[in-house]
């Protein structure tokens, strides 16, 4: 387990998440792709913390990323609910127009 291997795994997670975020039609699946990307970022941050500079400020940054992920998920699901209620669908294509 070295910094390079940890970063490779994190890069793989980000790539898989990017595939999901770009290709999925359903809003919730897009968000799952985003979650995978943030998981990759978290892993990379953890690797940098441990292998390069293990002082507490790095962990605080990890906490901030975790909080940001939570906020993004909560708001995303609220918007998806609203979209579903208004437009009766959960596809990203139909969310492109704000008016009816």
């Amino acid at each position: 387990m070295t910094l390079e291997t940890v970063l490779l795994v994190a890069a793989a997670l980000v790539s898989v998440g990017l595939y999901g975020a770009l290709s999925q039609q359903v809003v919730v699946m897009v968000m799952m792709g985003l979650e995978l990307m943030i998981a990759g970022v978290l892993l990379a941050l953890g690797g940098f913390w441990w292998f390069l500079s293990p002082d507490p400020s790095g962990q605080v940054l990890l906490l901030v990323v975790l909080a940001a992920m939570t906020v993004e998920m909560a708001t995303g699901f609220a918007i998806a609910t609203l979209l579903h209620r208004r437009a009766g669908s959960d596809m990203t294509d139909m969310a492109a127009e704000l008016h009816e």
Binding site: L7, A12, V16, L22, S23, V26, D55, L63, T70
Partner: protein, 190 residues
């Protein structure tokens, strides 16, 4: 607790890595929404495990806790939006599939080559004997600003979530002048 050298740690790390990436791919491949959600949950648990192996005990366990709870609730949303039943049926709802795979592969090549080719500096300093204690003190003393901002942001998120998604307001529940007795049970629309 655990050192970061040694065969056991390496094996554990590669298991976590395989689970994280493998189940991450499975999220977009499986035949049912519940399976997709829990594949993502397992992927996150593996990421938390990898963080644990890097001596970030508190953050690792918090990632596991938060993600399992989030996936349990997310499964409900998945089923609510997509209306699928527990039976397994092949589903593939993608657009621009090849472009997305191309973008993903390019990203992996870019980031991976960066990870391997960049000359990373030598480690500076050593971790505190009690990492959790050091984190707590940092967030309460030198990085108190972070704590002060994250708290209200969380409250704002709760408010935003409820306001955006709530179908009824207190006027539905308590009448136009907020003077009617509350509907019983409270979730019933008047």
């Amino acid at each position: 607790m655990v050192e970061t050298s040694g065969v056991l740690v390496d094996v554990a790390f590669w298991v976590c890595a395989a689970v994280a990436v493998g189940f991450g791919v499975l999220v977009f491949v499986v035949d049912s929404m519940a399976r997709a959600t829990y594949a993502l949950a397992l992927s996150f648990v593996a990421t938390g495990g990898a963080l644990l192996l890097m001596q970030q005990s508190y953050l690792g366990v918090i990632v596991v806790l938060m993600m399992v709870m989030e996936m349990a609730v997310m499964a409900v949303y998945m089923v609510m939006f997509m209306g699928m039943n527990p039976a397994l049926m092949p589903m593939s709802m993608v657009h621009s599939h090849r472009w997305a795979i191309g973008a993903a592969a390019t990203t992996f090549l870019l980031l991976g080559s960066g990870a391997v080719l960049v000359p990373w500096p030598v480690r500076r300093g050593a971790p505190a004997p009690d990492v959790t204690d050091a984190l707590g003190r940092a967030i309460m003393e030198s990085h108190m600003l972070v704590m002060m901002i994250v708290g209200p942001v969380m409250v704002a998120t709760i408010v935003v979530g409820v306001v955006l998604s709530s179908a009824r307001t207190r006027y539905d529940r308590l009448g136009d002048d907020l003077d009617q007795p509350a509907a019983d049970p409270p979730q019933e629309v008047r």
